[in-house]
């Protein structure tokens, strides 16, 4: 199983752990990731607020490189996934758009390949049974809230891999890894995105609601598949808790990190030690890490 890998800008910076852990887990599952050479930014929110064609051409350039290799694209970041899917759909549905985009990026792009988000690649591409075979340290006793955020499963006609109102893929993955997926209502609520920077009054309220609801549902940690969600829930957690006179201490994981832990990799190699809310004490308290390690990875 070979995919073109598009890490995206976040995974070079705030989401380094996602990059590290995704690569490790992919290798363990036998997924070959061919990083798109000289990949460029997908344009994110900035581009599609500025100009529609720009927002399509930026991701198209990356997809065109993968298309020439004849590869489908695996994307960890939820926002990149959304943008890549958007151009894929528009080009596929309109001959005029195909010609326009090809002209802008200076190379032919037909959208013959497809983009899949990392969660989809692993859970539906590889399959839960194969993942189960790789689990050596089950996440026993760990209560987790799966958090999809807004961009991973919406809009449904773009993403189209899980239920947009009540997604379940991550919950199923948690169960396979040996953890317990709690039922909670904020699975697909928005984390506020960049509002935590530009409109703290709104952003912090959204973040606090997500964290509080997860805790009230009995979760000991939150699992996400989006670097911006993790950034907001993790980095802002202390500030948000203080603003609400609350103590939260909820570690936030990328799903790939938890897969890595369950597969026996060391927290350091998965990037777990770089989180603001240190998740290692929780994993130790649950005796997940004390289990004799069967694999060691040097990143």
């Amino acid at each position: 199983m070979k995919y073109a890998y598009y890490p995206g800008c976040s995974l070079e910076a705030t989401g380094k752990e996602y990059n590290q852990s995704a690569k490790i887990v992919a290798r363990q599952l036998g997924i070959e990731l061919w990083e798109i050479p000289d990949w460029s930014c997908c344009g994110a929110t900035a581009a599609h607020n500025a100009d529609h064609l720009l927002s399509l051409a930026l991701p198209a350039r990356n997809l065109a490189i993968a298309e020439k290799e004849g590869l489908d694209v695996a994307v960890p970041c939820a926002a990149c996934f959304n943008r890549l899917r958007a151009v894929e759909k528009e080009v596929r549905e309109s001959e005029t758009m195909r010609a326009t985009i090809s002209e802008i990026i200076g190379t032919e792009y037909k959208a013959s390949n497809t983009t899949r988000c990392m969660l989809d690649v692993m859970v539906q591409g590889v399959g839960l049974e194969k993942i189960r075979e790789q689990v050596v340290k089950p996440l026993s006793g760990l209560k987790l809230a799966s958090y999809y955020g807004c961009l991973l499963v919406r809009p449904p006609d773009l993403t189209a891999f899980d239920d947009p109102e009540d997604p379940v893929l991550m919950d199923n993955l948690i169960e396979v890894l040996g953890g317990e997926a709690v039922k909670w209502p904020y699975k697909t609520e928005c984390c506020g995105g960049s509002l935590s920077t530009v409109r703290k009054d709104i952003g912090f309220r959204l973040i606090y609601e997500i964290l509080r609801r997860a805790r009230d549902a009995g979760a000991e940690a939150i699992v996400t598949a989006c670097p911006l969600c993790l950034l907001n829930l993790d980095m802002r957690q202390a500030q948000v808790a203080a603003a609400n006179n609350d103590k939260l201490n909820l570690p936030i994981f990328y799903f790939t990190e938890l897969m890595g832990v369950a597969m026996g990799y060391a927290p350091k190699d998965l990037g777990l030690t770089t989180h603001f809310v240190n998740p290692v004490p929780l994993l130790e308290a649950k005796e997940i890490l004390r289990h004799p390690a069967t694999r060691r990875e040097t990143a």
Partner: protein
Amino acid sequence: MVAAAQHPNIELVTYAEVENVSGYVGNFEVTIRKKARSVDPAKCTGCGTCWEKCPSKVDSEFDLGLSKRKAIYMPFPQAVPAVPVIDREHCRQFTKGKCGICQKLCPAKAVDYEQQDEVYTDKFGAVVVATGYDLFKWEEAYGEYGYGKFPDVITGMHFERMNNASGPTGGRIVRPSDGKEPKTVVFIKCVGSRDEAKGKSYCSRACCMYTAKHAHQVIDKIPDAQAIVFYMDIRTPGKAYEEFCQRIIDEGAVYVRGRVSRVFQDGDKLIVRGEDTLLGRQVEVAADLVVLATAMVPSEGWEDVAKLVNLSTDKDGFFQEAHPKLRPVETFTAGVFLAGACQGPKDIPDTVAQASGAAVKVCQLLSKDEMDTDPVIATVDESLCSGCAMCHPICPYKAIDFKTITERVQGKEISRQVSAVNSGLCQGCGACTVACPSSALNLRGFTNEQILAEVDAVCL
């Protein structure tokens, strides 16, 4: 129903299914399967001993699972005839082979485990299709309302059963989860109706009125209760309808114009989040009970009924009337009429009006010795017809049949088959005239020669 059952000229066949319909207007042959009831209706007095003593309990279909029924049961107290039926899938006598309590206890000796389905054919002059409706399966479409996972998110039909004095709660409005009386009840209209993305494009027509009634019942029955109705539009055309709805608003029901985006459980409350489009603001309500006004859809099995009686349907499976304005109870098949929600969503007064119309149409048809038909129908020129039968499958009304004619060819008398059009069934659509390879079929008044003459007149 009771009056119908007692009428000397009405034969009521219950617990039965129509298996086949053949023939044509005035001469329908209908095959009916009377299912084995396991109780002899001639002997049964409806005393109720059997279902009181029956040991098997099953969810009641009529109460939508809000109560239990026995394996030998009457679906609801007013059922006609007042004779129980044994549900063989759940009866111990049939599943385990031993029990027999009802048979032992029946004072009239009416219980008969050996009874078999009875299939018989009878002749009828006309057919009225009145197969009704089902509720849209919102649990499969509306994740934002919880996909049916929250016990206190119910449909209007559940609410209706609870309000019934002989229903599962004896007329009390309660939360299915804990049986407590709700104080804040949220009604969400247009669940599946007017929603092309997830449901049906049409308006279900009756929901605005029954939701107003439900809101009134909440205010009336529960002290200090609050009824909040989320709506897209209030559609209450009809005599005294608008006034009724306004009365409920005056009684204190809060009408919020906007869609509900999400319902989720928070402790024992249901948080209903939506928007008030008149204020341009988000709304959040902590509700005890949420009632959904789900869309009306054709009742399950409509495809089979359509095939059975040769009915055409619209895009949603409602049976098609012959003309939306001028022939609303007739179908394209002569002698087959429609009544009620099987033709389209409608409320009780509309259903009664249409059913009355259908009944009178049947009377009109059967009271005459001869039948008027449209003169523009197909005819066969027997000298041209080769009997190839191309027209038979083409005819949507099954109006073409074979007949044998005898003619003299080169001095010899021969018999051959030709097509024959049943003038009672033909609707003059013209499909056969196009299909006929030898141009033997023509529409009266629109023969090929006549049309070609018109073409000549226009073109020359």
